[in-house]
Symmetry: C2
Subunit: 454 residues, 2 copies
């Protein structure tokens, strides 16, 4: 009886010992207890802080990353540099001059033009959205400061960012074409704090960049209330950023070498640069941390079939420039699958795949390994994020682990993007999901490289 009991107790341990080195369930559950991702997120946001694309701080972050990735045991750790058009924030102040004098909280959009150093003061003309600005005759806009509202609300999957983001991407260029002196928009944040939400804008070729800034939601509310009251409004803006010519940026690359070079690379990562207002915790220290911590789980368990390449991209925030540079430089190398973590650190709730036919069997294995983490199978529309998206569009297998974005745009691109916004338990769930995914994909017996398909 005693002996029988002992044998029964020993059975699970024997089974575990007999499991393959990259058993997805076992590694997944171990990853839930690992604090590597937390330490990377904490280190990067504390020891570097804000790290704008092309800045000395982004360069310091690359050096920090090399040291960190080497110390974690990764191989072939290196920096691949590239040049970007530099831009630096200047002064930024705004005030309602009439009818009700008071300051407003705003921040320049990336690649905003500048007002004169002494600022501009002009009547405000307000539009509820980009379409209304687009439809307005130029003489309604010329010589004025334009305001454009928007209706973005939080969604779990973040899908409204693309749709409502037009106000940031396009409205400044349209306003400039119609002769506006400057433009302020309701920022894309979904919070109600006086921490405005930056992000790049684009001026079409030939269009003069004008000063373009985002207001916090309480400030946009204030302006819309006064406009609704029918009172003519005058605004004063001092917004003095500068385009500073070419600056160096770079990607940091690290590898877990695989045993079968012909099986292709599994490329994962996040981006190392951040906006300058916060310390880039959810965007995207957590993404580089999650993917590196997951790759380390695989590395520590043994050599995978495929090389896992962890890429911490530079200059994502100003147009995915690090991702483009990586694609151009590496497009001849066979990639088996790609995936980026760039949507914060709240729990993964869904996985999406975009797979070549030969890779189809992965879906069932991913489903089995991820569903115990509360992760549902999606509809088959992975994008691989801003940095690795070019690969998916070129036919490489893509796998997304979608984070819950319900509060992402409360924080994203604002001064509020700081470490306290990261929930360690949800961060660990992310690492567990990425670990399980890598255990499956890096070791899959199928032929995953598109060009090498039988």
């Amino acid at each position: 009886m005693q002996i029988q009991r002992l044998a029964l107790l020993a059975l699970p341990f024997l089974l575990v010992a007999a499991a393959p080195p990259h058993d997805p369930a076992k590694l997944r559950d171990a990853a839930l207890k690992d604090d590597t991702a937390w330490k990377i997120t904490e280190g990067l946001t504390t020891e570097i802080g804000p790290r704008l694309a092309g800045s000395p701080e982004e360069a310091r972050a690359r050096d920090w990353a090399v040291q960190k990735l080497k110390s974690l045991g990764f191989k072939n750790v290196r920096i691949e540099t590239f040049d970007i058009p530099g831009w630096e924030r200047g002064e930024e102040r705004g005030a309602i001059v009439a009818p009700y004098p008071q300051p407003v909280a705003l921040t320049a959009l990336g690649y905003s033009g500048a007002t004169p150093p002494q600022g501009v003061e002009a009547p405000l003309v307000a539009f509820p959205n980009v379409a209304a600005l687009q439809a307005a005759p130029a003489d309604q806009v010329k010589g004025k400061i334009v305001y454009v509202g928007n209706e973005m609300r939080a969604t779990q999957d973040g899908s409204s960012y693309g749709y409502f983001g037009a106000v940031r991407r396009s409205a400044p260029s349209i306003a400039s074409q119609k002769g506006a002196l400057a433009i302020v928009i309701r920022g894309l944040g979904t919070d109600s704090h006086r921490v405005p939400h930056t992000g790049t804008t684009n001026f079409e070729p030939g269009v003069t960049p004008i000063a373009a800034a985002a207001l916090s939601n309480p400030d946009a509310d204030q302006i819309e209330r006064i406009v609704a009251d029918g009172k003519p409004m005058t605004l004063r803006l001092v917004i003095t950023p500068r385009a500073v010519g070419p600056r160096q940026s770079g990607n940091v690359i690290a590898e877990v070498p695989g045993s079968d070079p012909s099986a292709g690379i599994v490329a994962i990562g996040g981006h190392l640069d951040s906006w300058d207002l916060g310390t880039g915790a959810i965007d995207d220290a957590s993404g580089v941390a999650i993917t590196a911590a997951a790759a380390k789980q695989i590395m520590d368990a043994g050599r995978p079939r495929r090389t896992i390449r962890v890429i911490w991209f530079g200059s994502e925030e100003i147009g995915g420039l690090g991702g483009r540079a990586y694609f151009e430089r590496h497009k001849a190398e066979p990639h088996a699958a790609v995936g980026e973590s760039d949507f914060g650190a709240d729990r993964v709730w869904r996985f999406e795949t975009k797979l070549n036919p030969a890779a189809a069997p992965l879906v069932g294995r991913l489903e089995a390994a991820l569903s115990p983490l509360g992760i549902a199978k999606g509809s088959g529309s992975a994008s691989a994020g801003a940095d690795l998206g070019p690969w998916v569009r070129a036919g490489t297998n893509g796998i997304d682990l979608d984070q819950d974005g319900s509060r992402y745009f409360d924080i994203h691109h604002t001064a509020d993007d700081t470490l306290d916004k990261i929930d360690p338990a949800q961060l660990a769930q992310n690492v567990a999901a990425w670990t399980a995914m890598l255990a499956i994909v890096a070791n899959a017996p199928e032929t995953l490289v598109a060009g090498a398909r039988e």
Copy 2:
């Protein structure tokens, strides 16, 4: 049968028609549907915005208030001015210089001294709380920038503000006495946003005011993380507020005249001034709005026995100076009862009284009228707030309608104190509670004036 039914249906209407003009339950329920308080809060925060004690904006707010209170039908609307020591915010910037260079978000405390225009740069010495700073030898502090943490957490009744507020009230004076160049504290906010929390500090007589600023919680976290790591830290501060000599402030007073001048005045109100960072919505546009809207409910229903005096105090934020000025000027006038609304606009959850023996019967009547709003009877410790507290301490009956303060210090004294933080339904519940209280107290048959007690 038909006739019987009609008679039954008519019965409630007949009962209502027979009720006295100031039936507390009837007026209370009508007040739940009134938007006067919302309109005052919206108007003051939109048309005036920030209104620092002694500023031109506070003067504009007084003029706005006179016009508003007259238009609502109040009598004897007037301004009573008094002088205060003026103080104006200047530049305020801070950065960690070493070991990890990055900016920090901070704001000067009221009556802070200034750094030189070019700022100060010095080693940081950190203390977890005021007691630790107090115990430190001067040579540990001299020539340095002091940091003091604190442990304030949100409470429903706001009671931790008094206890933990010592860090703001006292630490700067102690640091100056020990030879510190400047001081930064973890602000008293309970939020995690980069919107630091201001408020007055006090330098003891003979102590040189040094630059004193509050960090937002994420920034205080950052500093404490680096300190815990054992790395020496250097901070740079540019904080240039100015003491600007005497400035005019004032109280705005309006009345609902009573039928019995010998019965004493019921004095209620809130404060008109606000900190300069936000638009003073919860602190305290809502308080002046709630008390005026409730008084108007009584006024519109008929003449009460006692005169209700609505006071919108000036310069509360810098030491309750408007309340002191009112007490000095009016202390000879018989006051029957006093109460201030100065804790936001979330729902009233408790009422507190401090009553003379003759006023004791009020408690049961208040309980009956307030409990249907979910308001519990407290333990008998009303203070009547910063502005009307002197009356309670001098023996006048005090009645508090305590708001739920669970999120009050998330917003209080920050740039985030804006209209969007007010929940119209909870604001209306406040007005209903104040209306019921006034209906009872202003018409009570008892002798309420302390000196006139039989």
